[in-house]
Symmetry: C2
Amino acid sequence: MGYRVIAGPFDLGAWSAAHLERVEQALSQWVTTDMPTGVDHGAPAALVAAMRYAVLDGGKRLRPLLVMAAFEATQAQPSEDAPTAEAALRAACAVELIHAYSLVHDDMPCMDNDVLRRGKPTVHVQFGEASALLAGDALQALAFELLTPESDVISERSQARLCRQLARAAGSAGMAGGQAIDLASVGHALSEHQLREMHRLKTGALLQASVMMGATCGQPTPAALDALAVYGAAVGLAFQVVDDILDVTADSATLGKTAGKDADQDKPTYVSILGLERSAAYAQELLAQALGALRSSGLSQTQALAGLAKMVVNRSS
Amino acid sequence: MGYRVIAGPFDLGAWSAAHLERVEQALSQWVTTDMPTGVDHGAPAALVAAMRYAVLDGGKRLRPLLVMAAFEATQAQPSEDAPTAEAALRAACAVELIHAYSLVHDDMPCMDNDVLRRGKPTVHVQFGEASALLAGDALQALAFELLTPESDVISERSQARLCRQLARAAGSAGMAGGQAIDLASVGHALSEHQLREMHRLKTGALLQASVMMGATCGQPTPAALDALAVYGAAVGLAFQVVDDILDVTADSATLGKTAGKDADQDKPTYVSILGLERSAAYAQELLAQALGALRSSGLSQTQALAGLAKMVVNRSS
């Protein structure tokens, strides 16, 4: 469970690759019939197969990387093989499980009715709708199971806080709430304020929670926590603004999903409200906010957080 | 948040009525746009309406009553208005939210496709499938949010343990796993062992967790915990055996759901495997096990637990 503290000039690519490898390994280890509590409870193999299909080998893993970056920025003393490193890894995977379950349910016929994700058939296409529904439900529960091991790799105090942060970010005042607003907004005009509110819940809450949960595994000062909350909110919003821009400017092959879908569905987006140019300027403004928050945080090891913010804004897919 | 310690000869009806009133009030208070963390995060009203519809004014509330009964049996000193009483009430409501979400998803067209529950249109009939899916998802998250308040009404140690118990019981090695086995079993012959395993996960895990979570809010001895685990497993299994019996012997009006449905769907049941008479004997045997466990628990205030076990086995609906 150790991880390497990277020395020398900061290389986001190398940092991400090293952490992604650990996250992929951990997800594969923990999403099994042999549950993370270390006891084989006999989870049925067919359900676990659908859960693994939904989680493994896919996605940019932005949320886990934000968890790890915020953890490293707030560690009192970087150390290898510390129990706290497993705490952050569990938090990183828990957040990704919530994200993965939301995609499974989102793709279902009664929601977005998507048949492809990351070039593969979606879970309900591959396993049937009922299995997709149950796999998503089980992934949400597993996220909280990952955060609450019986061993002391996470203090009970941190377990409670991590569960609190994740539950809020996932629920009716977070991701699920944002999806409900999204659902109700198709074909309706939204003000920029309403659009921002929807995205603050739908994607922003979980992205911000990723940052805050990473910090929960570290030892941040109150001032650092405040700064990270600003950073997380700005990155969360920037993520969505850039998503909206790419939906217009990128082609489907680059995106790995259907481009132009928002406009086709008459969904309100930043581009439809602000236009392309002002949307791009807004994304840069949010990046500046995020980087400013890091500078004022009093934290020294913020290179990964800064790099991830730049990556979110300047990505092409 | 106080509750009354009932003196004199034990009256399960009065005990249940008093506790049900508190549970109903608490559910109504906590399933709102003003989330249990005490801050209005702006959960969308339409989503919360579907969540309230799914949760309020319905059901026997067996799981919350088991939580409260196990809490009272394991309290060191019964007291009114103790923070621990709110801890148990939160645990009781959290378990009920998990149960409620499972019913919402279970009723959906891709699962059981039920249009009526407790005499009312099911959530997807009333609010649409997408809203039902999201309401269920949000109810699961809310369960964990209820267990992790920022205030000290639940110690962080207990918050961590309650989340662990609930996550395991709800997930792939618990309720969701049992539903996956159930789904795969339609039209297949199951052995009694396989049937028991399915029900241990599908309904038993959450019923047993209700008992253990109530005890987590108390101060049980290790011996009492062991005995309560046996009690919870026996009551959980008995619940399902009796369900299978009633599906054959009761009419739809009494049940409040469609009778004879299991046989119609060619689902394996205790009655189809053991026959009616041996199923009834098995239910009585499980009741004896549950009551025996209470006698060996070293606990003195077990009247409510004993009464609930008898009610589960001797109910007519």
